[in-house]
């Protein structure tokens, strides 16, 4: 479903600030795979997700989603294949628009812009049902401006928006990191539900190693722009935070916290 081969990306090439963010990264996910990505700060995790989403065009390598080579394709032209939930709750939604309008934007993702009314009774019903599944009461607030919502509510809305059209690949970049623990759990629960329900292929970056071990069927560790460790199946099931720390001499605090 998602195949990336030998991705390379260098920022500020040739200057004193030159930074190699992706250094020959390869990964292949089958349909329904759910990969949790861990790695220290600056390992290139966000850069990797940005490359899949198209926000960043890689210097070298190839990205293929659902059999389509999207390596040079800009964000808006691959949005029918990929959707994402950003780390920043403000990034994935539009504050000045209503909940309904945000969802109406998401449901037309990948289609051409039509001169049809965005709001219809059938759609409102569908939106209500989808929002009710998260259990935050957003289904009764379709006409409220998103700017009025809390971070957790906005992030939940982002998640509904990202999954409303059943993307080929769902990208999650520390999407619960900016939330308080209880809200983070609600959003994580909704995420797992959505992935399971629609058998989504998903890539989730997290700093929570326990989450990476517990969730998903693949675990990927990145370091310096490369995949340094991969586990799946029985090997993944046998992992523990202690074993990972021991094996990789992890001293990065941020990876242990959360």
């Amino acid at each position: 479903m998602l195949t990336v081969k030998d991705l390379r990306k260098t920022f500020y090439r040739g200057s004193v600030n030159e930074r190699v963010a992706l250094d020959g990264l390869s990964l292949s996910l089958s349909k329904g795979d759910f990969a949790a990505i861990i790695g220290g700060n600056g390992a290139g995790k966000s850069t990797f997700l940005n490359a899949i989403a198209g926000e960043l065009i890689v210097d070298e390598g190839a990205i293929e989603i659902d059999g389509r080579n999207v390596t040079p394709t800009p964000v808006h032209k691959r949005s029918d294949l990929v959707s994402r939930v950003f780390q920043d709750p403000l990034a994935g939604t539009s504050a000045s628009m209503t909940i309904e309008e945000n969802l109406a934007l998401a449901i037309r993702r990948g289609k051409s812009d039509r001169l049809k009314f965005a709001s219809t009774p059938a759609r409102r019903k569908l939106f209500r049902e989808m929002l009710a599944r998260i259990g935050l009461g957003l289904e009764d607030r379709l006409d409220h401006s998103v700017g009025l919502l809390s971070g957790g509510q906005r992030q939940s809305l982002s998640l509904v928006m990202a999954t409303i059209t059943t993307p080929k690949v769902l990208l999650l970049d520390e999407h619960t990191a900016a939330l308080d623990p209880k809200t983070a759990e609600t959003v994580m629960r909704a995420t797992l539900d959505a992935i399971e329900r629609d058998h989504l292929t998903a890539v989730m970056v997290t700093h929570n190693m326990q989450h990476a071990i517990d969730f998903g069927n693949r675990l990927v560790m990145m370091m310096a722009g490369r995949v340094v460790y991969e586990a799946s199946g029985a090997e993944k099931a046998g992992l523990s935070v202690e074993k990972l720390i021991e094996r990789f001499h992890i001293v990065d605090d941020k990876m242990l916290l959360a």
């Binding site: 994402r84 994935g92 939604t93 628009m97 109406a104 037309r108 001169l115 049809k116």
Partner: protein, 297 residues
Amino acid sequence: MTEFLHTYLNLAPVTLMQGVIYAFVALGVMIPFRILSFPDLTAEGSFPLGAAAAAAAIAAGLDPLTATLIAVLAGFVAGVATAVIHLTLRLNTLLCGIIVLTMLFSINIRILGKPNQPLFSYEMIFDMILGPFSSLLWWQIGLVGVLVVVFSGLLLVFLKTEAGLAMRAVGANSRMASAQGISIWRQTILGIGLAGAMCAMGGAVMAQNQSFADVNMGFGVLLNGLAALIVGETIVGRRTMLQQVIAPAVGAIVYYQVISMALALGLEPSDLKFLTGAFVLLMLAIPRFLGRGYAVA
């Protein structure tokens, strides 16, 4: 006091006419500033462009409706020019507008063949549609008023469609818009083009109303439009799309009545630009001091 009233009442219909005409400009300012978050000055060039194009077409013997249509198309192209410059060169939007409006000054003179064009002996859109009533000011106001309502209504309907929602998303959160498959290029070009078309419509109607086109008639138009927009938003609000779309017309009408009062109080027309600037500054300053951001630019 009675003298003020007398003067004001005499001025009122004339300034009402101006108000409804400038409603087009206020609409053309609202789209970039409010829908697309693309502070734009092109109005200063597209308004006289509309006047020049319509006047030249009429003087060349075209019927006033076709002439107005040509003017609107020309305004659209001017808007597209500003948008494309911004999108390709990543220059500040205001600078892109200044470049285009300055270039338009020369273009407008080329279109007219001279700095101004009187149109007294030609048939205007007013003559064409109003027939025997064409010289009656209230009928003229009514005609332009209906046009403004139609344009505003169409804009409102558009903004409620999927395509309109996509345009609004670009102004509201462009990163999110891209992620939802919306082309920033396409929406910006369309929206700024539409704004240019509205301003040019204003210019075309203005030229036909005063039977005269002048390349300098754009001077200060943007600030007038912005002032009208702010007045309108203060009166009707801007929370819903309906309010946002009504605000420009309401604001333009009220704003020109205030101007008419200022004139009745004895101010010179040449003082008005200063007052408009001061007014816009004040409206921007008040929320700052109250600690609330009023995002104009």
